[in-house]
């Protein structure tokens, strides 16, 4: 069996093409059923996300070209594109390359933001669709499970996803670094912009329990509060009165001057019994007076500080990605090996069966001549026969395994022929 992967991603195709090919769950299932015919394309799986559409399939060794043609044709028709239109955008990988590609995608090495965690979930979802459609067979089952293992290894053994690489997520990262857990913490948003909204969502996901929204225009604040769900609107005049409640403050107003000054923070810190406060100022011009950082236990970050950290985090991720590639490389080799052994598995099993059948038949033929035997004696005779057969056949079977392991097709076929075996 050969593995073929055909698809396109954010690097090879613009969004206009990707959106035409993107398939929802129902379309995926229907597509899989029509694509996988059990003859040419034996197994199939479709990964469809906003950044990639990829079709993973398994065909017989001598039908790679034919199978690849079918997959390409399927993509053309599902996107209602003229044949050949996708040629410049599609990549095609077979066997080892396909395996490597799948491993890299699931480990988030091929993502737009290296190390982002969603893609593994998307691959998992694609697999469950294929299982439901009944198009994941012997080869793809094994490949996908191995893929999950690789992705987990990459995640735990490298720091590829360890640090934040977006401004909205930096708030979560800094909050965790200071408070260890955001559970039960209070977040204050000053300004009700898009960035504030995104950060608030991340923080709520991370366990923050209360969101306070302060905005000059109260209607906008109310609108954002409704969107977020569990948020309280604080009138702008009362900012000073509720500042001490906030563990994290995210400031993103369009105000031309400082909204928070040193004396605000001094008062608030005293009121919150010197517990730390993390201030994040993503507005330009800045809305939080840099002098606030002088207050003990107040940590202030402006947009440049965050950008600096993010740049170094991205570099860190790239370094970690190199380590991840090494893991992928060794796992690809392991998988290829296990795939070859899987191919040889049935024929070796069959051969051992055959040998043992011969032994049992001979025993049955000669059994009468042995006369009455106790149970122990009976067992001893059988085990004597079986162990003799196994010991004699062991080097032969081992040799076959080696032929397969080295992918020496001729030699393994020859040994199968020798014992008159059919696959």
């Amino acid at each position: 069996m050969s593995i073929i992967l055909i698809g396109l991603n954010h690097k090879t195709a613009p969004v206009e093409i990707r959106e035409r090919l993107a398939l929802d769950d129902a379309a995926c299932a229907a597509g899989l059923r029509s694509l996988v015919d059990g003859e040419v394309v034996r197994e199939g799986l479709i990964v469809s996300t906003c950044n990639r559409v990829e079709i993973l399939s398994a065909t017989a060794n001598d039908q790679i070209e034919f199978g690849a043609g079918r997959v390409t044709q399927f993509l053309d028709t599902s996107g209602q594109l003229p044949p050949g239109f996708l040629n410049d955008h599609l990549y095609r990988h077979t066997d080892e390359e396909a395996v490597r590609h799948v491993f890299r995608v699931a480990s988030s090495l091929d993502s737009m933001v290296v190390g982002e965690p969603q893609v593994l979930g998307q691959v998992r979802h694609a697999y469950s669709l294929a299982v439901e459609a009944g198009t994941a067979g012997r080869v793809l089952n094994r490949l996908v499970h191995h893929t999950f293992r690789v992705a987990k290894r990459v995640r735990t053994e490298t720091g590829i996803a360890a640090s934040a690489v977006s401004i909205s997520y930096m708030a979560v990262e800094l909050g965790k670094k200071i408070f260890s857990s955001l559970k039960g913490s209070t977040v204050m948003l000053i300004g009700a912009g898009e960035m504030a909204e995104l950060s608030a969502k991340h923080l709520l996901n991370a366990g923050a329990s209360r969101v306070l929204i302060v905005n000059r225009t109260e209607a906008t604040a109310q609108q954002l509060a409704n969107q977020i769900g569990s948020a309280t609107v604080v009138p702008f005049e009362h900012l000073d009165d509720s500042l001490h409640d906030a563990d994290l403050v995210i400031c993103s107003t369009g105000a031309p001057d400082y909204v928070l000054k040193e004396e605000h923070l001094r008062k608030a810190t005293a009121r919150r019994r010197k517990r730390p406060t993390c201030l994040i100022d993503i507005s330009v011009p800045r809305n939080i007076d840099p002098a606030c950082a002088k207050v003990r236990n107040v940590f202030l970050f402006d947009i440049d500080d965050l950008e600096n950290v993010i740049t170094s985090n991205i570099r860190e991720r790239e370094r970690e990605a190199e380590r991840a590639e090494l893991i992928v490389q060794s796992e690809v080799m392991q998988f290829q090996q296990s795939l070859r052994l899987m191919d040889v598995g049935p024929s070796i099993g069959a051969m051992r069966e055959q040998f043992q059948d011969v032994a049992r038949a001979e025993l049955a033929r000669q059994r009468k001549k042995l006369g009455p035997l106790t149970k122990e004696q009976e067992a001893a005779v059988e085990s004597l026969l079986m162990s003799t057969v196994n010991k004699i056949s062991h080097p032969i079977l081992n040799q076959m395994r080696r032929f397969y392991g080295a992918s020496d097709a001729d030699a393994s076929q020859a040994s199968a022929d020798l014992f008159d075996l059919e696959e």
């Binding site: 360890a162 800094l174 200071i178 260890s180 019994r273 950082a293």
Partner: protein
């Protein structure tokens, strides 16, 4: 039981190396190896102490060798508590090497003579005195480490430049809490240990205070940690100042610990460090 102590050292070394690797590479699998070998080392170490007790006939905390070994054992127990309560694995990367060194030193020193120990084991006050103090020292070492971690991270947060350490150390609130709790525990143990020592001295010599350098340092240490504990126990978040106190306190602890052999003190029992 020197051979058993070799096995203990081997287990601690494996734990130390894996803790450091886990710290550097942020790998959970390495951390698991570190924790398992630490657990094995601890069990063997406990067995060594019990065996020493049974063979020598006195509480296994008397001579220099026993003191070092017992201190290492107490530190493992302390680190295990920190792990259990706060999952602060990073502490291990610093504690385990020290524990290994202490165990190694204990192995280098030849066994102490059992003769002189006999007269001290007549009353149970002496073992209580020494045990409490050893555990207090272990607690103060943890305060020290947590304080250093706090200061380092607070500095980086203020300067907004994050080194490799930053991402590997426990959160600010976690180290603050570790330091607070360990200081309170350490002070309690220190108090009990000192009281037991005073009573022991009184029961043996009819005298409570000897003006010994070690005693003076011990009282200074007690005062400092008393201030630290009071300071930390108020409802306010105590960060930097308390952390500096934790660092200075440990310097005093070291002085107390080393005062006996260096300054010449009554507290030299068969080269003991207590």
């Amino acid at each position: 039981m020197r051979s058993l102590l070799f096995a203990v050292l081997a287990a601690y070394l494996i734990a130390a190396i894996h803790s450091i690797l886990a710290f550097v590479n942020k790998r959970r699998s390495l951390q698991q190896v570190a924790q398992w070998s630490m657990a094995i080392g601890f069990v063997l170490h406990t067995a060594t102490l019990i065996d020493d007790w049974a063979v020598d006939g006195h509480y296994p905390l008397f001579g220099q060798r026993e003191t070092l070994s017992f201190l290492a054992w107490a530190l493992v127990a302390g680190y295990a508590l920190v792990l259990y309560r706060y999952q602060a694995q990073a502490v291990g990367a610093f504690a385990m090497p020290l524990i290994s060194i202490l165990t190694f030193l204990a192995l280098l020193i030849s066994p102490d003579s059992a003769v002189s120990a006999a007269k001290f084991s007549t009353t149970w006050l002496f073992p209580i005195h020494t045990t409490m103090l050893i555990f207090a020292y272990a607690a103060f070492f943890i305060v020290f480490m947590a304080s250093v971690m706090y200061l380092l991270q607070e500095r980086e947060l203020k300067l907004k430049t994050f080194s490799g350490f930053f991402y590997r150390l426990p959160a600010l609130s976690t180290v603050n809490e570790i330091a607070t709790h360990a200081a309170a525990l350490g002070l309690t143990l220190l108090t009990l240990g000192l009281v037991a020592g005073v009573f022991w001295n009184w029961s043996l010599h009819g005298q409570m205070w000897r003006n010994d350098p070690k005693e003076i340092f011990a009282v200074l240490t007690w005062l400092l940690y008393f201030v630290l504990a009071i300071y930390r126990s108020t409802a306010n978040w105590r960060g930097r100042r308390a952390a500096w106190l934790g660092v200075f306190g440990f310097v005093l602890v070291l002085c107390t610990f080393l005062a006996a052999p260096l300054l010449g003190s009554y507290h030299v029992f068969g080269m003991a460090l207590l």
